[in-house]
Amino acid sequence: MPKLGVEICGVKFKNPVIAASGTFGFGREFDALYDISVLGGISVKGLTLQKRLGNPPPRIAETKSGILNSVGLQNPGVDAFINEDLPWLKQKDLVVIANIAGSTVEDYVKMAEKLAPTAVDMLEMNISCPNVKESGVAFGVKPEKIFEVTKAVCGAARQPVIVKLSPNAADIAENARAAEEAGAQALSLINTLTGMVVDVYRKRPVLFNNFGGMSGAAVRPIALRMVYQAAHAVKIPVIGMGGITSGEDAAAFMLCGARAVMVGTQNFSDPMAMPKIVSELHRYLEKTGVVDVNDIVDALVMN
């Protein structure tokens, strides 16, 4: 029986499979299909200081082996989350990560302050959401900006801070180091890649927002490369994601240096995906004779 438990910044996960922000709501809907306590953790839908309505539809477009979304951070606001969703989530036995997004450094800091006294286990800073013009983009791309916002949030936060990096970058290692130097206790990556899908008969982009964030199996090789590069650029733990569809995919990210993984788009293809990934990861470890999942972290041998 291989061990699946991992620890990140002192927070214990029963297994390394975490629901990716924005694809799993606050957990309630999927809990109608299976007890979400079987998961290692959940990163909740991206929160903003104030409630947000989000972008007009269509908000999703399909592409070969991937999707693009432009939800535009629709969410009830951080207070509503704390009052209405967190109590329910904390009855469940899994790590709760609050994913936060702001238009200004102050927004991020205020959210970190509001979340400080709560039972939330970790914060994940979404500095890269490409959908909201006034938020993500500026922070997520340039190392100086990443440093600035991370430093401010780490000062205000009580819980460990994960910085979620954008893949729309020329040098992911540089951005990873900027977050580490600013005091981030962990990194997660990748967020979505900016893309566009065109309806050639309507001669318009499919998404109302024109551009959207691409995710799903199609992005996996890019995500794996970036996770490898980020994990080898910093000493803090890295959480890997981007196109994970199976236990073997999860293992690939861990071999590249990720201590845990997040699963997003695959929850749409298969609502039972995450429990399956947990058991497939288990089987992978058994098949390869590994007794502890931590033993595969960064175990990739380069050619």
Partner: protein, 261 residues
């Protein structure tokens, strides 16, 4: 609601662009399935990550079968079209709310209005609700080649028209609907079809003070209410004057008075 395997019992043509899938799916019936609900169906094409939402067209609770009326539109529905008897398909369902939720207990007469592909769920509602209510089905089609969903209904209960007059009167479905409202005002109107049709039906209902529910479509991600991609605009007391609701979990059927078309 759950994820379950369905077996294709039959796949046959329905009209020029549509086909009918008969699926045996025991799992679906454990929590029940009703007219107006839909299933989110995984198409057998590994390059397409999203499931396709398809309304339930007929329910056979004894055989544990449902039927779907599907238009071959893009790659996903094309993959479904190719599925053969005996094939397995993963369904997520039954999802969303049902037409019956919008019919008050004291209602007597129900008008069901469908346009094109939208005839499927209202035909299902016709079959399910006819036992309790006095139902009539109004259907509009582009042309005679696209007609389906009317078989086995008494003639006097069907009012079907087409855009080009190749089937029934050359008219929009709101024409016979308006005429019958004048003659036999219903308690409820339930509609599914293209947005302009729904808007017209909604206007007509409002004019006559009739409760009306419309079934909406939107591109979906999870189908479960978690991802917030399937939004439709509804009136709300927000600073903006509107809010987004989830077609998959708050709908697909909404009170027509709430919807911002």
């Amino acid at each position: 609601m759950k994820e379950c395997l369905a077996r294709v019992v039959d796949n046959s043509p329905l009209c020029d662009t549509m086909f009918q899938l008969t699926l045996r799916c025991d799992g679906l019936f454990e929590d029940g399935a009703e007219a107006g609900q839909f299933v989110n169906i995984a198409v057998n094409n590994p390059s397409l990550p999203l499931r396709r939402p398809i309304s339930i067209y007929a329910i056979d609770r004894q055989k544990r079968e449902i039927r779907l009326a599907v238009q071959a539109k893009g790659e996903g529905t094309l993959a479904l079209l190719r599925s053969k008897k005996g094939d397995e398909l993963s369904l997520l369902g039954a999802l969303g709310n049902a037409f019956s939720w919008f019919v008050p207990n004291n209602a007597k007469r129900v008008f069901l209005v469908g346009g094109g592909v939208g005839v499927a769920p209202v035909r299902c509602a016709f079959d399910e609700l006819s036992a309790k209510y006095d139902c009539s089905l109004f259907a509009g089609y582009r042309n005679v080649g696209l007609v389906y969903g009317l078989d086995g209904i008494e003639k006097e209960r069907v009012f079907a028209v087409s855009d080009d007059g190749s089937f029934g009167e050359k008219a929009l479905v709101t024409k016979p609907l308006g005429e019958q409202i004048e003659k036999n005002k219903p308690d409820v109107i339930l509609a599914c079809g293209p947005a302009p049709m729904l808007r017209a039906v909604s206007d007509l209902s409002e004019k006559h003070g009739i409760a009306c529910a419309v079934s909406l479509e939107q591109r979906m991600g999870c189908g479960l209410g978690a991802c917030l991609v399937c939004s439709c605009k509804v009136k709300a007391k927000t600073p903006e004057g509107y809010a987004y609701r989830r077609v998959c979990a708050d709908g697909p059927i909404f009170d027509a008075r709430e919807v911002i078309f």
